[in-house]
């Protein structure tokens, strides 16, 4: 993938994540803040499908943006063909792993398996 395409995704995910995280934080204000963080309340959030989809989107956006940021930092620190390939594929694998694990948590909680 061209670097410009990756960076467009990087900027896009940053903007979208800011918007969705703002919604996520504002949702805490629909009730008392401490109350909104109680176990049952959090589970209820996961079981509400539109909110679960938003959490999934936040997870994907932050994982993509964060791991690309990490890739950029690491390839600026050290150079070399093998090292850079290892960093790129390593970050991609870690990103997929994190999204998979996070999605599993969201799906299981949504289905009442937790």
């Amino acid at each position: 993938m061209r670097e410009s395409t990756i960076m467009k995704i990087h900027y896009g995910t940053a903007l979208a994540a800011v918007a969705l995280v703002a919604v996520h934080i504002l949702m805490r204000l629909t009730q008392n803040f401490a109350e909104s963080l109680e176990y049952e309340s959090v589970l209820a959030n996961y079981k509400f499908i539109p909110y679960a989809i938003m959490l999934e989107l936040i997870l994907i956006l932050l994982a993509v943006h964060g791991f690309n940021g990490l890739r950029v930092i690491l390839i600026e620190l050290k150079q070399g063909r093998i090292y850079e390939k290892a960093v790129s594929y390593g970050c991609l694998a870690a990103m997929i792993g994190l999204i998979a694990y996070g999605s599993r948590t969201i799906i299981m909680t949504n289905m009442g398996l937790v």
Binding site: E3, S4, M7, E76, Q79
Partner: protein, 251 residues
């Protein structure tokens, strides 16, 4: 290795003196650089380059320094003067407002000896971005005139045409300090200079060259390059404008 010496050549009675600290390093047999100190008299018009040449003439002819035009045109005498990348021929000692003037080789360049650094990578990066007009109709038809431009079209790129390839911007760039493969602000500013030129048709090929993992996206807009340019070029702005092309905001 420290030496305190004083110029004894003819100087007017108005001359003041400074301590000139010159970084000495020969990669062939030195493990690290060391400073040699010289007491040099100066007038208000004396440049750092003249002081270094004075040291070479009277105290130590082995001090290695690259210079040529002495008028900020050739871009040969870039060095770190009192911690900032500057042209030695364009920096008056009196303007530094210090009793001690420290000169070191430019950062982010391999040192040949003392103050002289290798420019190969700078020139390679410059060459890589195709620093010339690209057109299909290279040959002019007999009744055709030159490629005319409006003043507005010239305004788009003219400041970037002032680049003298002195390397000060690359020396000041924090990304270049860690990323040895980074193309650098000099080459990126020159890429913009040709991309923004209405006579040029090589935009796509140039954008492809700099759209690399060590290309334009590694600039973090610290702006140090623009602060140190002795010719008033603003590479940081050029890079941002070039990004406009990459992101589709400019065509």
């Amino acid at each position: 290795m420290a030496q305190v010496s004083s110029t004894s050549n003819e100087q007017s009675s108005t001359a003041k003196s400074i301590t000139l600290k010159i970084s000495r390093y020969n990669p062939e047999h030195d493990e690290s650089s060391q400073f040699m100190e010289f007491n040099v008299k100066y007038e208000k018009w004396t440049t750092v380059l003249e002081a270094i040449l004075d040291v070479k003439k009277h105290f130590d002819h082995s001090v290695a320094v690259r210079y040529s035009c002495r008028q900020a045109t050739c871009g040969s005498c870039g060095m770190i003067i009192n911690g900032k990348p500057r042209l030695a021929c364009f920096t008056k000692i009196s303007e530094l407002d210090s009793d001690v003037v420290t000169v070191e080789p430019m950062n982010n360049f391999p040192v040949i000896r003392d103050l002289a650094v290798k420019f190969e990578k700078l020139f390679d990066s410059h060459q890589k971005i195709k620093p010339y007009l690209i057109r299909d109709d290279t040959e002019l038809v007999s009744d055709e005139k030159e490629f005319l431009q409006t003043p507005e079209e010239v305004e788009q790129y003219i400041q970037f045409a002032n680049c003298i390839k002195c390397g000060l911007c690359n020396s000041a760039c924090p990304t270049m300090a860690t990323d040895s493969s980074f193309v650098g602000p000099q080459a990126l500013a020159q890429a913009y200079r040709y991309v923004a030129d209405s006579r040029d048709k090589g935009k796509d090929s140039r954008l492809k060259i700099i759209d690399d993992s060590h290309g334009i996206w590694r600039c973090h807009f610290a702006g140090s390059c623009s602060q140190v340019c002795p010719k008033g070029v603003d590479p940081a702005m050029g890079i941002q404008l070039l990004r406009g092309y990459m992101l589709g905001f400019r065509s």
